[in-house]
């Protein structure tokens, strides 16, 4: 009887360890973020993870996949981030210049207060769609963003063409972003 009890206890212990191992494997396999920038740099076109987030610039939500057919510049920012302040007018300019060609700039505000983000948008006269990801579930967990800002250029099929880690503020980075937008619009 005692032997049987010991066997059951051992079985439960082995089962628990196996369960934890499977949980670890599942977490590693389903982790989407982090590799997007590396994959884009290798010339691959990974699919941009979809999301639905509340809008900051108006009522309602925005789902990324509803923008299929348009090129997208997805800019991850926060109101407390200094390089974000520098690049915001440039992104607004890119949006206004290319909107009629089928480009959508989406500002994804993360780890920030809603009111601060809205004040930021008014200050820089941003007119492109803004979404709110306060806890960072989309930016950090799905897109692997570890610093602010980070910008993803997606083609019309929702594939990531290029990733800009840090502010798009140097002339060469701005030229690179414009070139990526042209490529995205050409798809």
């Amino acid at each position: 009887m005692a032997h049987r009890g010991r066997l059951v206890a051992q079985g439960v212990a082995v089962g628990l360890v196996a369960l934890l191992f499977l949980l670890l494997v599942w977490t590693l396999v389903t982790e989407e973020g982090g590799d997007l920038a590396a994959a884009a740099a290798r010339g691959e076109r990974p699919e941009a993870p979809d999301f639905t987030l509340e809008r900051l610039d108006r009522e309602g939500e925005l789902t990324l996949s509803t923008l299929r057919g348009k090129a997208v510049v997805l800019n991850v920012w926060a109101s407390w981030c200094l390089p974000c302040k520098e690049e915001a007018p440039f992104l607004e300019q890119v949006w206004r210049e290319n909107r009629s060609r089928g480009l959508v700039v989406v500002g994804l505000d993360s780890k920030d207060f809603r009111k601060d983000a809205q004040r930021f948008a008014r200050r820089f006269d941003l007119t492109f769609p803004l979404v709110y990801d306060g806890p960072g579930d989309v930016a950090a967990d799905r897109y692997g963003v570890t610093g602010f800002p980070e910008t993803f250029v997606l083609d019309r099929e929702g594939m990531v063409l290029e990733v800009f880690v840090g502010g798009v503020n140097a002339d060469e980075d701005r030229a690179r972003l414009r070139a990526a937008v042209d490529r995205a619009l050409a798809t």
Binding site: C81, F113, D137
Partner: protein, 147 residues
């Protein structure tokens, strides 16, 4: 004696009331909330978002919010990860119960092991019959010794 007990109880009630009415302490809140960027408590962080959160806490204290209201407001912006300790409800309750469960399971295991060990080391039961084979061997040895 009864008067003494009544006075003590009244003092406790008044003290509890005064504590509930006191405004929350910013330093205490900063030790209980986490910076969402650097993932340390606010009192350990100088990140821009942490500074903004500290300013928010002071604004809300000045506006008369309770500790819970301030925490709720920050959770509404940054999610429950902003709390240094998990909530004592819903899924967060597991984080409180699991260590307690592990402690109880450990204590039960220790008691069972100690009981088993003390049972092994205890004196033999005088009423229990000796193994026949062993008894035969003892008899043979004694006979040889005496012979």
């Amino acid at each position: 004696m009864r008067a003494l007990v009544t006075a003590f109880a009244a003092t406790c009630v008044l003290a509890a009331g005064a504590q509930a009415a006191a405004p929350p302490n910013a330093a205490d809140l900063e030790a209980e909330l986490v910076c969402p960027v650097c993932e340390t408590t606010l009192d350990q962080s100088d990140a821009p978002v942490a500074q903004r959160m500290k300013a928010f806490i002071r604004e809300r204290i000045a506006a008369g919010d309770t500790e819970q209201e301030i925490k709720d407001a920050l959770v509404a912006e940054f999610g429950s990860e902003v709390l240094a300790t998990p909530p004592k409800s819903g899924f967060g309750l597991l984080a409180w119960l699991l260590p307690l469960g592990a402690l109880v399971a450990g204590a039960i295991t220790v008691v069972l092991v100690v009981r088993r060990w003390s049972g092994r080391g205890g004196s033999a039961d005088p009423e229990r019959p000796l193994d026949p084979d062993l008894e035969r061997r003892v008899d043979e040895e004694l006979a040889r010794f005496e012979g």
